[in-house]
């Protein structure tokens, strides 16, 4: 039997010790009519057979690492140093539970403490939790924190239309029973300067993103002050790309109250969308309103430094319905991957990776801008993602890039899906993984599409 060590003889001894004769007697509390249904599952297979099947399934996909890829929109193809998987593959880390017993969990606890420290430094913030499921759920938790800070008395949330559309959808899913008024993104073209004006005394928080979903780095100077003034201390929450913070002045330096987002760029593979990592930081004064697990430093009975899960009186297992959130886990292993990534690259490495993204994206944008029929839409500076107005629907161009050229390229994201006014606009992501040759091929293929008039059989 797979993964069950018992021999027949042992089974009999154990049943006898319990005082029953047959295994079935252990289930007598279950009404008989429900017992032992036929499920209709497949026959068991061996390790050899399942690996063969999985290899086939794996090969039935187009691996984005095997072809030039310019798709981002919330998940990015980045280089993952070998050391990351080597560390997270250690059984001491991945087969451990949440570190409830600190005496035998210092490895996980200290890793989380280092993660919290580095994420705070990266975002320019004061406290970080031990992570959320992903950027979208971290954003939803930011909304809940803002509402909780005002003890549910303020019900209005202003959400910029340039926040990732999936994040905005998840915010609405999470809060559908909370009776909130969520405004700001009804008009997808509303610029940030106008969005801010929606903040008033009934507003708990403004949620923006920078670099925003269209790749642009928002002007954050004075923004927090304006939000605090218009909204009488309403919170400013900023969704950030953590890799961009290797280069950009962090939102914390501009006075943001919450900085959160998707940690996937920090050493996590694409993995078809997950598991990723939501990072979450806030100001010290809000530490008791933060959701999720938090690790703190303390000493043991002998005065030796160590780490524990702390501030748990906010949490569901103690506070039940009064908890700040229902969360009872963190993203332990992906958090560890991000921690190893940040430590392995370190101060200089992260800056260099961020610069590579910046320069390569700008090189690509420069080359595409020179093509007839294509135009770079962004007016503000961008990091590694930008918008290209195309001469045809984006799905036609993408189909051409993938199927009809000599190149086999995964093109960018079709912004018309979420922003009607951006039909024919492609969101292009360029990272350190895109070599100059890939970028040049991409540009050549776009030019070729224009020349040949696009898709034809």
């Amino acid at each position: 039997m797979v993964y069950i060590p018992h021999t027949d003889e042992e089974r009999q001894e154990m049943l006898a010790s319990i005082g029953v004769e047959r295994m079935e007697q252990l289930f007598n509390d279950i009404p008989e009519q429900y017992r032992y249904p036929t499920l209709g599952l497949t026959e068991p297979v061996s390790e050899m057979e399942i690996l063969e099947e999985l290899q086939e399934l794996s090969a039935a996909n187009l691996n984005a690492n095997d072809v030039p890829t310019f798709l981002g929109a919330g998940a990015y193809r980045h280089w993952v140093p070998s050391v990351v998987d080597a560390i997270i593959s250690r059984g001491e880390f991945f087969t451990a539970y949440t570190p409830y017993q600190p005496e035998i969990s210092q490895g996980t606890l200290q890793a989380i403490f280092e993660y919290q420290s580095m994420i705070c430094d990266l975002t320019g913030m004061e406290v970080s939790n031990a992570s959320h499921y992903d950027g979208a759920t971290a954003t939803a938790e930011a909304v809940i924190q803002a509402v909780n800070v005002f003890r549910l008395k303020r019900k209005k949330i202003v959400l910029a239309p340039t926040v990732n559309p999936q994040y905005r959808a998840v915010v609405r899913t999470y809060t559908q029973g909370m009776g909130l008024e969520i405004v700001g993104d009804e008009d997808p073209t509303l610029p940030l300067a106008e969005v801010v004006k929606l903040v008033d005394e009934n507003t708990a928080g403004l949620i923006i993103q920078s670099p925003n979903f269209l790749g642009e780095i928002e002007d954050l100077s004075g923004l927090a002050d304006e939000v605090h003034r218009r909204g009488k201390k309403a919170l400013l929450a900023v969704v950030a790309n953590p890799l961009s913070l290797g280069l950009l002045t962090p939102p914390g330096a501009f006075g943001a109250d919450i900085v959160m987002g998707e940690g996937q760029p920090l050493g996590l593979g694409l993995n078809f969308g997950g598991p990723y990592l939501g990072f979450y930081t806030t100001r010290r004064k809000y530490v008791r309103q933060i959701a999720g697990r938090v690790v703190g430093e303390t000493v043991d009975v002998e005065g030796k430094r160590g780490y524990v899960l702390t501030l748990s009186t906010r949490e569901q297992h103690i506070r039940r319905e009064k908890a700040t959130s229902n969360i009872c886990s963190n993203q332990g292993l992906t958090m560890l991957a991000a921690t190893v990534y940040l430590e392995a690259l370190g101060k200089q490495g992260l800056r260099k990776i961020a610069e590579l993204n910046y320069h390569k994206a700008h090189y690509a944008a420069h080359e595409i801008a020179a093509l007839e029929g294509y135009e770079i839409v962004n007016v503000r500076p961008f990091f590694n993602e930008f918008v290209v107005r195309c001469p045809a629907p984006v799905d036609e161009i993408n189909h051409f890039l993938l199927e009809d050229t000599a190149y086999t390229i995964i093109g960018g994201y079709d912004l018309g899906r979420d922003y009607p006014h951006l039909a024919n606009n492609m969101l292009v992501a360029v990272t350190e993984m895109n070599s100059r040759e890939e970028i040049d091929d991409f540009v050549a293929a776009l030019a070729e599409f224009q020349v040949t008039g696009g898709y034809h059989d």
Binding site: Y3, G40, E92, D134, G296, G346, L350
Partner: protein
């Protein structure tokens, strides 16, 4: 033995792993946008490898020994699962690639949805929720929206038994609903009289953990379900304890309308030091349209017998997406591998042996550790961690003394309805020898409690750090590295 923080190992100017050289002409870097300082540590690759290797040695893990945390199902994490999740065609897959380029991944997701649907006895399954608590939130949102959709706008209450996980009332609260507690009876079941007095047209539904957190199968399940359905409510099943029921009972057959699975418990995916987990949700027919999405469906037009074609669809009355993209695909690949390898028979055997191991451990210690409900248990059980003859000893002391013997303590102080609770779940992957060894240690500690209580009070003795000052941690929180100024 402790390990310095990476900041304390950092040396100014030291480089870590090296990024590639720039191969395009540089662009201008607008200085006004850029940070002057990036205060990350500076360590070499070998520094980092040694640092984490040292840290790993400070962790107890399932690979080292028995980890019988009640309600957590710490079963062996098969290594083939890790290989499965690291297939290059999975790890390198962008979630927004065209559907025709991700058919292998969609095949896996579709068949995992189907397997969970069959295991639970449901009509539909979503794989999107990221964890058990996330599945609960999803389930309660589905119940709420269903009630609103049929015009039952006055329903605002979720009934939660007092033995439930704290996530149940917390999830309820997040959905803007009221959690009302239902007491347990003297056999550890939901108290039917109390339930009778609590049901009514204000009830959205009941959240039932069955087997409950005492490890007992609720003998009144038929009556409980009938009472809740009778008032127009729905029954939510907390699937945290599904490991007892695999192939033994389908919750859907018993009238459970919605249930979350914990792939990281029941289906052997690793706990990872706290995550990532995965909390798929199964529902009966009348709730299928409310599932979060998208979910994977077979496209009838583009499929033929030889080659099925899979596509994402959004259920028509969906509560909306509960996270980015489609779920924790890497975790799904592991659970799929596990289910395929065990098959129908293997899953039932897993449940049976989980229950066998729990009852066997209980049979070995129940004359010594007070048992609040003396019944055949399911995959876990709860005893009281205190002895009349050793009044100064608490469950916490027993837990810490277990560490001295090189094993992981059980869950303590949960469920809240048992005084000084110790909740033990050995799981099916422990051998008789390892369960016996654990029982021997528990019996020895019970003896020590009377003869040498100080051994328990001062435990653990030989760990990298000893009992921590948790009050200090919470009163004066130090939550990040403090630089010397």
């Amino acid at each position: 033995m402790t390990e310095p923080l990476i900041y304390e190992l950092s040396v100014p100017g030291r480089e870590g792993v090296k990024p590639p050289k720039l191969d395009v002409p540089p662009s201008e870097l607008p200085a006004e946008l850029f940070r002057a300082e990036l205060p990350l540590p500076e360590a070499s690759e070998v520094d980092v490898v040694r640092h984490f290797t040292h840290l790993s040695h400070l962790n107890y893990s399932l690979d080292e020994g028995m980890y019988p945390l009640g309600s957590c199902t710490m079963k062996y994490n098969p290594r083939v699962n890790e290989v499965a999740a690291r297939m290059p065609g999975f790890t390198g897959l962008h979630p927004l690639q065209p559907e025709e380029t991700v058919q292998g991944a969609l095949y896996l997701m579709y068949h995992l949805q189907e397997a969970l649907r069959k295991i639970g006895g449901f009509a539909g399954v979503t794989l999107q929720p990221a964890a058990g608590a996330h599945g609960e939130l999803t389930g309660v949102l589905i119940m709420r929206k269903y009630q609103l959709d049929r015009g039952e706008t006055q329903r605002d209450t979720i009934l939660v038994p007092d033995s439930a996980h704290g996530t149940n009332p917390a999830s309820t609260h997040m959905c803007g609903l009221r959690a009302v507690q239902v007491p347990s009876d003297e056999r550890g079941n939901v108290d039917l009289d109390a339930l009778q007095s609590l049901v009514g047209e204000h009830v959205v539904g009941l959240m039932l953990t069955n087997p409950n957190t005492l490890g007992l199968f609720d003998e009144n399940i038929k009556e409980v379900v009938a009472l809740v359905h009778g008032c127009g409510g729905l029954v939510y099943g907390d699937g945290a304890n599904m490991n007892a029921l695999l192939g033994v009972m389908r919750p859907g057959d018993a009238g459970i309308d919605v249930l979350h699975f914990n792939l990281h418990k029941t289906f052997s995916t690793p706990h990872g030091g706290g995550g990532p987990g995965s909390g798929p949700v199964g529902v009966v027919e009348r709730l299928v349209d409310f599932l979060p999405g998208p979910i994977v469906a077979q496209d009838a037009e583009l499929s033929d017998d030889e080659a099925p074609y899979f596509t994402f669809v959004m259920p028509p009355k969906s509560i909306g997406p509960v996270k980015s993209f489609w779920g924790h695909f890497g975790v799904l690949a592991r659970a799929y591998t596990y289910i395929r390898m065990l098959g129908e028979k293997g899953l039932r055997r897993a449940a049976e042996h989980a229950v066998l191991n729990a009852n066997y451990l209980l049979s070995r210690i129940k004359d010594v550790y007070p048992l609040p409900y003396d019944r055949i248990c399911m995959h876990e059980f709860v005893v009281a961690g205190h002895f009349a003859a050793a009044p100064g000893v608490r469950a916490l002391d027993i837990a810490k003394r277990l560490i001295d013997y090189g094993v992981h303590p059980p869950t303590n102080y949960f469920p809240l309805i048992v005084h000084e609770a110790l909740m033990m779940e050995p799981t099916e992957t422990e051998s008789k020898q390892s369960v016996d060894a654990y029982a021997d240690i528990l019996l020895k500690i019970a003896e020590e409690a009377q003869t040498h209580p100080e051994l328990l009070h001062d435990a653990p003795h030989n760990t990298p750090v000893r009992r921590m000052d948790e009050v200090r941690a919470a009163r004066k929180p130090v939550l990040r590295y403090q630089r010397e100024t």
